[in-house]
Symmetry: D3
Subunit: 210 residues, 6 copies
């Protein structure tokens, strides 16, 4: 029938590309390695279903010691439809007196939506620390690459949702970088001027080699 | 004191640039025009305060006819610290039988966090419609540029938070594009094959010139 | 000979990279899947010939019902040398009273060169429709992502050449998105406020599921 | 009326940004300087008309000595709507035995649509020259940054349309770079091994200082 | 004369843009604010001289306490021709037992060319520390955003040249971020688990508020 | 232990991505083809060692006829850790009266650090040649894509280090492009107006087909 013929004629000329995954979307084929831009190759569109765009586990995370914080996240590894879209989400549940420790996302800005409780959020630049107490209805942004933290300053638990500007945001936790690996105590001491006793104490806590 | 001297010596060599707003962040000076990349020039860092990174109005929006949907958003115009960071947030409250009408964001992908109620979310590609019923704990992503919609399919109201991959996301609402402007009925008819009566009926609803 | 030795010495240091396909060009290996950026992997340079940069079919396309328009295009699939270069071309032949239906290119701007006849070209933003009657010698640009159309307003056929800012431009035709797929009539009605009868009428025309 | 109210409510939340020029387009304000990305600041949308997107002079250019070629072009300076869209167009008319001299576009790929006559098109990489005789119906792409040329190899005049992947494509003409400026004959000789007599002869032709 | 006429005709068509600063280069006008991408607006080309592309101070820097390191750098502020070119250079002179303290460049990768002496260079990822002793003739790269350090491990002074992939690289020095600002001791303690005594000791050293 | 558990819990949520090579770095797997952006796929992080980030051959290069220049370079092929980081380095040793011939890097800006001797550095735009005599302590930048050269103007040898803004910078040497390939003498003559005798003389020198 003419219309149908038209549709295919139209599609088969330059529309065709519109229907290949890379133009409208590129669902991650997690079985293949990432490319230099940090994205995964595209899964064949014929194998793509709406479920590739949905993640059902952004639920409360059980707070863990030592920071009494729970975290669940929707990133490209559990939500492959995010691939190449430069966005991801996390839910952070912070127990009473809990803390999201000092960390940074080298490749992502973060937008925090406060949902329950009261928290202190701060980020640091070489000249100044920006710190604010926020509550439900507030939104706060942490610019890409800056060291930041969250402290539960309320009487009860706190719940926040974070949106990140990367589909596989990295996180560099201060304590894991300095005290969670095999960097020698003497090197950490010489390059940070922290006392060796302090370094050893935290290496013990975070599993770093003495 | 030597240390302090060191600090300034260090800062005054190449660290200096690290402390200029454009390196760590670029808070929008909303009094100036956007540039071609869609961002605003940077406000002088001396005038930047932590409040430039916070918006306190991401609260329930009053549902409006005809779609029975309420919307509040945190974008660069009310959260200037978002400038240049390619992220924004919105809260959508959908009344019973309410709908977020068919629309697209030409320059942003959207990640929807379902918070309350049950909704049907769908987006369309030239070959297929991707539709899913989602509920609290679910997250669904709508790839950049695709036409999409949300329908409240639950018994009560629905609440979702959306993260968008642009600090000033555009929104092209199907009905406003076709029926809310001065495009003549005959042109809409000839280019969409919609009946003129249908077009006039919706132009009346959406304020378009007949 | 010294010179030749020099040439190879020079090439074999850092010039070498200049001669790998990815630096000077990256002809598409169409047998492999696209990557997230929408481009194809590079064909080995030894297999590249000048014909990879030439397409010989940008000729008159036979106008088809229902819009009485013919289209031929040079995109990466028939001109693999375009890969990664963000440019493509199309020739559009529009019969008397013919129309290029309402559509958009989510990932490409379009520059239309009018070659024969007289046409009305228009594109739509949320606030305004931009419409112009153009003729041979005129060039008109349609910004990336905007819904647009072309109407043959002349006495005879019209011929235009379009340049697009993508090597595999997608095209989202309004009628195919709303009436050419399996999106249910009730969902289209609820999210666009179009009448169900109208939707069914066009679904019949464009092959959508009722 | 409710609908209208809805429309404005919707627009005034995050739709608002969709209607600012930088989101849907950014027409060049040519009275202001370019920014580092090579684009102009945006003209206020209220001052934008459809004519900002149209150029009416892409007509035959009078062939000039010494290469017997005529050129007209639509770039951001005469078609301000191109600003930020990374596309431009040119029409090249080549007289009998005419030539588009050896040149490159450091920041743009070029797609040549052959319209009339027969031409030889070639581009050069460090390892190989790619040369092809093309005619009407053919399209040939010259990858970004490569030195290239066109020779009219037909019996009559030749007409081609070029699309470029920049809204203000630069052009570096070999003879103008080496012989059209104040670079001394001895420096050109030492760095190219061309004979001084040859250099002086061409400096005289292209207006370079001896 | 024809040639000259040709030259101007050619230049005045689309070559013209090639000669505007933004196409071939964009020398920083340091009197204007940076834009969101971190670059400065372009100085008018008529005011540009070759000296805008030259910096004459990349000489030995006097080592300072407490780290016994001297630094000079060529960045956009003293070499305005770097603007928009994503490259900069630094010379680092490290005294005996000297150290470049733990720091990161959120927006630049660094390539270190070792010129004199012997140094230990290291960078840290969340899973592993990469550490290497290098000497003249060696080059080592530190990927963008990673925490890194340099220690003079030789008998005499060490000299290195660093190239950075930004024209205004930021530098985040660990000690300045944690101990050189007004972030309270209790917040640093709670978010890093460092002992308050240790924090106060270093705040005293680096000028932070207690 | 809780801490360790915490570490893994934290890592196993969204930190996990931080430790995949593509987020912190992407060491080139040189056995695979480059992608369209000119980078190599990532080597598995488990196979990455610190030596992937070090190159030990940036030493004096033996000057070769005809230009009496020696070159060694650290690019992605001998320093795979550079992959995706847009930076590379070269050492250039220029004998007495030696020259780095007229060439360009289509995809990289170059920052030259003068280390020994005295040199004349120049680059050319369509309107002007920028030429400067520089010496140790000076740094000069050559903007991306511009034709440039270096001449040893001192009494002794000259040594410079160059940083380039690409991990696999291409180099287009004027003489190799025009006289080192199979482009016919008549085409070179017609498109550059060089005399055929001159062209043949240089083709003989640079190995081009007559």
């Amino acid at each position: 029938m003419n219309i149908i013929f038209f549709v295919f004629a139209f599609l088969s000329s330059y529309t065709f590309h519109a229907v290949s995954c890379a133009t409208d979307f590129c669902v991650a084929d997690l079985s293949l390695p990432k490319n230099p831009s940090g994205h995964y190759p595209c899964k064949a569109e014929t194998k793509v279903t709406v479920n590739d765009f949905v993640f059902s586990g952004l639920v409360e995370g059980k707070p863990e010691a030592p920071f009494n914080v729970g975290l669940t996240a929707a990133t490209v590894t559990n939500l492959p439809g995010l691939n190449g879209l430069d966005i991801a989400a996390a839910r952070v549940d912070i127990g009473v007196n809990g803390t999201v420790p000092m960390h940074s996302h080298p490749d992502a800005s973060e937008l925090l939506i406060i949902f329950e409780g009261e928290i202190i959020v701060g980020f640091i630049t070489p000249t100044k620390a920006y710190v604010k107490t926020v509550k439900p209805g507030d939104v706060i942004v942490i610019p890409k690459g800056l060291l930041h933290f969250v402290i539960n300053s309320g009487a009860g638990k706190a719940v926040t949702f974070g949106a990140l500007s990367s589909s596989s945001p990295g996180v560099h936790v201060h304590d894991l970088l300095l005290f969670g690996n095999d960097l020698s105590t003497s090197i950490v001491a010489q390059t940070t001027l922290l006392d060796e006793a302090q370094i050893k104490k935290l290496k013990a806590k975070f599993g770093g080699k003495a």
